[in-house]
Amino acid sequence: MDEFNTSKPIYLQLADRINRQIVSKELKAGDKLPSVRDMGIKYSVNPNTIQRTYSELEREGILVTRRGQGTFVTEQEGRLVKQRENLKHEQIQLFVQVMQEMGYSTNEIISGLQDYLNKFDKGDEKRD
């Protein structure tokens, strides 16, 4: 069962999930999304909320709705590449903000990240 955080609108949490699925290529350019009702059943969420998620992502140019056919991931690869950059930027921003709040310097952050990734590439560190 998927749980939602009550401190943020559900329609935005669902938009985040769809964005991540697109960036991770679980959903590809041109893929069809489930109908509003099927998506509602899948997540146990009001279909009106799903409609809002789809509309929001359409407004951002990530999804397109074709009348009578359904909702699809845009075929404009350029838009998806940009979205991939946006999400990366968002995550890095979050991470850096937390590190800076705790007082880490830029050098400490960079070297720490590099060490972590080196170990991770060698398989020493487990992904959690």
């Binding site: 943020k8 509602g40 059943i41 146990s44 009001n46 909320t49």
Partner: protein
């Protein structure tokens, strides 16, 4: 549209609802929340025409509500109201004989979705399956308003989830509104458009659920704890 104008309800000397006014449009899933005895069920019964206001007016689609409003309002009581010697199919036939808008095809689809066996006798059904059957009976009517009093109460998590999914699948939000009272807020919250909080016979809040998440960063339960503690 459902419209309550300055409605009060008094039982003998006890006031159940005080000067309530509200309007509810088509196409919404609405939750009525509040403590036991706050007036939630009374509110539902007034809309269903099972109880008449002591003062004020209740209208559904412009008609003043009385018992005959059941032709456009489907009501699911908190109590089991079917005969235990009936089979599931007989209970459905009985309901269909009472309401011309009863949609057999839809009833069968919901039964299939809920995995209910139509030949079983009601007295042999588990509590969960009796809960599911009640949902079938309430949802299979082609009416604009469906009211449910505590549809998830006393049921296990699996049954609750199948009922929630059943509501999403079979309430047609283009032409229907579902209104229910509930204490199972965690499960119901993601399917609600808006909620009505009742306390001591008064509506203390009526709001769009996503609006509450967005502007106050709170879920219904957190909001209730916060506002009930502070007053």
């Amino acid at each position: 549209m459902i419209k309550l104008t300055d409605v009060s309800k008094t039982y003998r000397k006890q006031t159940a609802l005080k000067n309530i006014s509200l309007t509810l449009p088509i196409g919404k899933i609405v939750g009525i929340v509040g403590e036991n005895g706050s007036g939630k069920s009374t509110l539902l019964k007034l809309i269903a025409g099972l109880s008449l206001p002591t003062s004020g007016q209740v209208t559904v689609n412009g008609e003043t509500v009385n018992r005959r409003i059941s032709k456009i309002v489907s009501y699911l009581s908190e109590l089991d109201s079917f005969y235990s010697m009936y089979t599931v199919k007989e209970a459905i036939d009985y309901k269909a004989s009472q309401f011309t808008d009863f949609n057999y095809t839809k009833a069968e689809e919901i039964m299939k979705f809920m995995q209910l066996d139509s030949d079983k006798k009601i007295k042999n059904l588990s509590k969960g399956n009796r809960g599911r059957l009640k949902i079938v009976l309430a949802l299979a009517r082609d009416v604009p308003y469906i009211l449910m009093d505590e549809p998830l109460s006393g049921l296990d998590p699996i049954v609750r989830d199948s009922i929630v999914k059943g509501m999403i699948s079979f309430v047609d939000l283009e032409s229907q509104t579902l209104i229910m009272t509930t204490h199972e807020i965690k499960e119901i919250e993601p399917i609600l458009d808006c909620f009505i909080a009742v306390r001591d016979g008064l509506i203390i809040r009526m709001a769009d659920v996503e609006q509450l998440h967005e502007s106050e960063g709170l879920g219904i339960t957190e909001w209730m704890k916060k506002s009930y503690m502070s007053s």
